[in-house]
C-alpha cells in the first residue's frame, strides 16, 4: 500500500491513473450502445451540447443496466487497470527495464477477462455471449452460476494479483548481477 500511495501522491501518476480508469470505465459503459454513439457523433443535425448531454446520461446505465456484481467489478477493473498502468510506468522508470512476461500477462489477462464479463446491456454478458454464440455455445452461459459474471470477477482477481506482483518487483533492491562470460579466464 505504501508503494501505491507514494506513486499516486505524484500528480502526474494520479492523473494518468485517473485518465486510464475513466477511459476503461467509459468504454465499458458505452460499449453496448456503440451503434448509437457512432451514429450520433458524426451527425450534423444533432448539436454538440445535445451529444454531450446524451453521452453523459449514458453513464447512468451503471445503475440501470448492470447488476450489483457487474457494476462493482466494472468499476474495480477500471480503477485497478489505471493503478496497474502507473505502477508499470513507475517500474520501468526506476528499473530502466521491462516487467517480466508473467506479470505483464497477468495485468493484460485481467483486463481481457474483465471485458468478457462486461455487458448485461442485454441479458447475459455482451462479448462473451457473442463469442460463445460463434461456436454455438451461448447457452453455456446459463450453466455458469453468475451468468458469465465470473469473468469479471476473475478480471478483478488477475488485476489485483498483477498489482501485487508489480509492487513486489518495485520493492526489490536494485542490485547488479555479476556476469562471468563463458570464455572468461
Amino acid at each position: 500500500m505504501d508503494v501505491i500511495r507514494s506513486v499516486l501522491l505524484r500528480p502526474a501518476y494520479a492523473g494518468i491513473a485517473f485518465g486510464v480508469a475513466v477511459v476503461v470505465f467509459t468504454f465499458s459503459i458505452w460499449l453496448p450502445n456503440w451503434r448509437l454513439i457512432l451514429t450520433v457523433i458524426p451527425s450534423s443535425i444533432i448539436s454538440l451540447p445535445d451529444k454531450v448531454i446524451l453521452f453523459w446520461n449514458l453513464y447512468g446505465s451503471i445503475q440501470t443496466n448492470f447488476t450489483l456484481v457487474s457494476a462493482s467489478y466494472t468499476i474495480a477493473i477500471a480503477i485497478l487497470f489505471g493503478i496497474n498502468i502507473v505502477l508499470f510506468i513507475h517500474h520501468i522508470k526506476i528499473r530502466q527495464g521491462p516487467l517480466s512476461g508473467s506479470t505483464s500477462a497477468l495485468g493484460v489477462g485481467g483486463l481481457i477477462s474483465g471485458f468478457f464479463g462486461v455487458g448485461c446491456a442485454a441479458c447475459g454478458t455482451f462479448i462473451l455471449t457473442a463469442l460463445l454464440g460463434l461456436v454455438g455455445g451461448a447457452g453455456l452461459i446459463t450453466l455458469l452460476p453468475l451468468g458469465g459474471e465470473e469473468f469479471g470477477i476473475l478480471g478483478v482477481a488477475l488485476l489485483g494479483y498483477a498489482m501485487y506482483s508489480i509492487i513486489k518487483k518495485i520493492k526489490e533492491p536494485l542490485v547488479c548481477d555479476t556476469i562471468w562470460p563463458s570464455n572468461n579466464k
Binding site: 451503434r35 443535425i45 446524451l54 440501470t64 516487467l99 493484460v108 471485458f115 457473442a130 451461448a138
Partner: protein, 238 residues
C-alpha cells in the same frame, strides 16, 4: 554490469495479443455474429452501423401506450424474463408519466437460449390476453408480469399467468384454448425477426422512431435521462 531481465518482448507481445483478442471479441460481438434467439441462427444483415431503418412499420396491431399522435415513438423489443427488461419497463412507464408527447410500442424478443422455459410462452400468453381482452388487458398483463417476476426463468408461470389473466378480466378457458392453438407463435417470431433485422442482439433493445422516419438505436436498460435526451434529439430532428 547489469543483467537484463528475460522476456524483453513479453510486455509488447502481451499488449498486442490482448489488443487482438479484444478487437476480435468486439468484431464478433458487434458486427458479424448471429444474435441469440429462436431455434435457428437468423441470416445476418449486411454489416452496417445502424440498421434500425429496417424496422417493420408501425401498425394498429402494435401494442401501444401513450400519445396516439406522437411525433416520437419508442419501439421496445422485450423479453418477459429479462431482469433488465423489467427495469426498463419501469423506466418507460416513468418516461410516459413525465411526457405526454411520445408513444411506447412493445414488441417481443424472447431470448430462448437464456430463458428457454418461460420467455416465449409468456409472450404468446400476452398476445392471447390481447386478443381476448384488448389493449388495456394486454398492458395490465404485461405491467403485472414485470412487477412480479423474479426474472431469469424463475417465475412460476403456472400460478402467475392465471392470476394475471384474471386480473386482466380475460376468460381463462378461452385463454387456454388460444394458447394451445399456437396461433400467435408466428407473430412472436415475426417480432423476433424484426428485432434482429434492426440490429438487436439482446434485450431490452429499442428503436427510437421519428415521425419523419428517422430512427436511432438504443441498447439496454438505459436510465430515464438518456431516454429523455434521445426523445429530445429526435424531436429536434423532425
Amino acid at each position: 554490469m547489469q543483467k537484463y531481465t528475460r522476456g524483453n518482448y513479453a510486455t509488447p507481445a502481451s499488449i498486442v495479443i490482448a489488443g487482438v483478442l479484444i478487437a476480435g471479441a468486439l468484431f464478433f460481438a458487434l458486427g458479424n455474429q448471429a444474435p441469440i434467439s429462436g431455434g435457428q441462427p437468423v441470416q445476418q444483415q449486411p454489416t452496417a452501423i445502424d440498421t434500425t431503418d429496417q424496422i417493420r412499420p408501425l401498425s394498429n396491431e402494435d401494442h401501444r401506450k401513450g400519445n396516439p399522435n406522437a411525433k416520437v415513438t419508442i419501439v421496445e423489443y422485450s423479453d418477459f424474463e429479462c431482469p433488465f427488461c423489467k427495469r426498463f419497463h419501469d423506466t418507460m412507464n416513468q418516461v410516459l408519466e413525465d411526457r405526454d408527447d411520445i408513444a411506447w410500442v412493445f414488441r417481443h424478443f424472447p431470448l430462448d437460449q437464456l430463458h428457454p422455459r418461460n420467455a416465449r410462452r409468456v409472450a404468446v400468453a400476452s398476445e392471447c390476453v390481447n386478443e381476448l381482452g384488448g389493449e388495456d388487458a394486454f398492458w395490465i398483463f404485461t405491467d403485472g408480469f414485470f412487477e412480479v417476476t423474479p426474472s431469469n426463468d424463475r417465475t412460476d408461470i403456472s400460478t402467475v399467468i392465471p392470476n394475471l389473466v384474471a386480473k386482466a378480466g380475460v376468460n381463462e378457458t378461452a385463454f387456454n384454448t388460444c394458447v394451445a392453438s399456437g396461433k400467435y407463435d408466428q407473430h412472436v417470431q415475426d417480432d423476433v425477426d424484426d428485432a434482429i433485422a434492426t440490429g438487436g442482439q439482446g434485450t431490452p433493445w429499442s428503436v427510437i422512431f421519428g415521425e419523419n422516419g428517422d430512427t436511432l438505436p438504443l441498447s439496454g436498460a438505459q436510465p430515464v435521462g438518456a431516454v429523455m435526451q434521445l426523445v429530445e434529439i429526435m424531436l429536434k430532428s423532425q
